[in-house]
Subunit: 217 residues, 2 copies
Amino acid sequence: MTSQTVTKLDRVPRQRVDKFAERRAELAEAALQTLSELGYARTSLREIAQNSEFTHGVLHYYFSDKVDLILCSVRQYKTRCVTRYDQITADADSYDALMTGFVTVLAQTMREEAHMHRLWYDIRSQTLFETAFRADVAELDKSLENMIWRIMCRFAELTGEPQTLPPPVIYAMIDGLFQQCLLKHLSGDAQAIAQMQADVRLVLSKITRNPDATAEV
Amino acid sequence: MTSQTVTKLDRVPRQRVDKFAERRAELAEAALQTLSELGYARTSLREIAQNSEFTHGVLHYYFSDKVDLILCSVRQYKTRCVTRYDQITADADSYDALMTGFVTVLAQTMREEAHMHRLWYDIRSQTLFETAFRADVAELDKSLENMIWRIMCRFAELTGEPQTLPPPVIYAMIDGLFQQCLLKHLSGDAQAIAQMQADVRLVLSKITRNPDATAEV
DNA sequence: AGAAAATTTTGACAGGTGTCAAGTATTTAT
DNA sequence: ATAAATACTTGACACCTGTCAAAATTTTCT
């Protein structure tokens, strides 16, 4: 239930609502940090509160229960994640530039946000058991699929060739490569990132280019 | 520590050792069932014991701690999983037969062992946080990679064309497709399996066939 | 300034967790 | 058959979990 939230939205002045929402966001942020540090299985409300500037009781003032809090966190994570590669798409004015831009941001993401992404894979796995997260996780997954698809469309524009694989397939493939890389990267494999960059280049070159293009060019 | 185990292996008669190992396997099986039902985060030792014919205390007689038990379970899961597609590879005597055989077993696995596979993805995600599982999970992942690679080698034999993508890349791609399908399948999407079969066919046909082959044939 | 409302803290609750030691029952060996 | 080794159960321990109500604090409004 989010009855508390609804009540507030109904009759308190505008400023209040903003403050309430801000604090929710603040606590959701603390939850994100905790989840990315400990993983879903070991994340408790008291641990989350300790990563904020409040005590554990306040969580039930701003969220109806633990699920409500985590859902809020996931949505917050999404808004940051989903436009990550759009600048690259806009800037690139050639096939090679787009390719280089893409794998560069992939590497950067892996280096700087590895913990946040392990949280994502952890939550997505929870979805296999817990129905509560399914709708939000599916929506986020779809957004990521769209993000990848926008890149592929730009590739298609630049080559003049049509797309050869549907959005879900390309996303699944890139996601699989990213996930394997994350595993190796967090296990201490120093070459994992460079290897993934090479792998993505290889796969995309087979996908984005027309089968006969290599012979023509 | 598995000091208890070692002690037994050292000095008790052969029959005892077998019985000890058998019971370990039996309890590991109960753990597998529980994990695949509840997920890692909600699996407790008492719950595992309830899925066996013993009480919770016995777990500490056969395993040094919870981690020891789960590692044992994962290894047991592996031995069943890793040769799943080998028969298909041996039987198929044409490109189309191999392709059909592969996607058929993929679908069968998804239908019959969805719960076991969600456990696998759950445990693999835990590995991103918990170092204790890393070595075993990495080994299992490698075995699965090899299994997929054996299939690709058979494809290469049948087409006469060389492989175009290295083992880790192909595995990551297929795994990504499988994982997405599992998510949809468990969310109630009735077309998920058929869609995955089509997707795998599409991707493999782009990978296993020479770029110019379509023009030739 | 004082009353009212919103916010935060504190402390408790019922129940669950892994672990382990002290028992009881069962099997094995002599 | 009796003693010893093995297998299993029971019950406890210290601690952690989500939740919530009551009290204390802070902010807001008049």
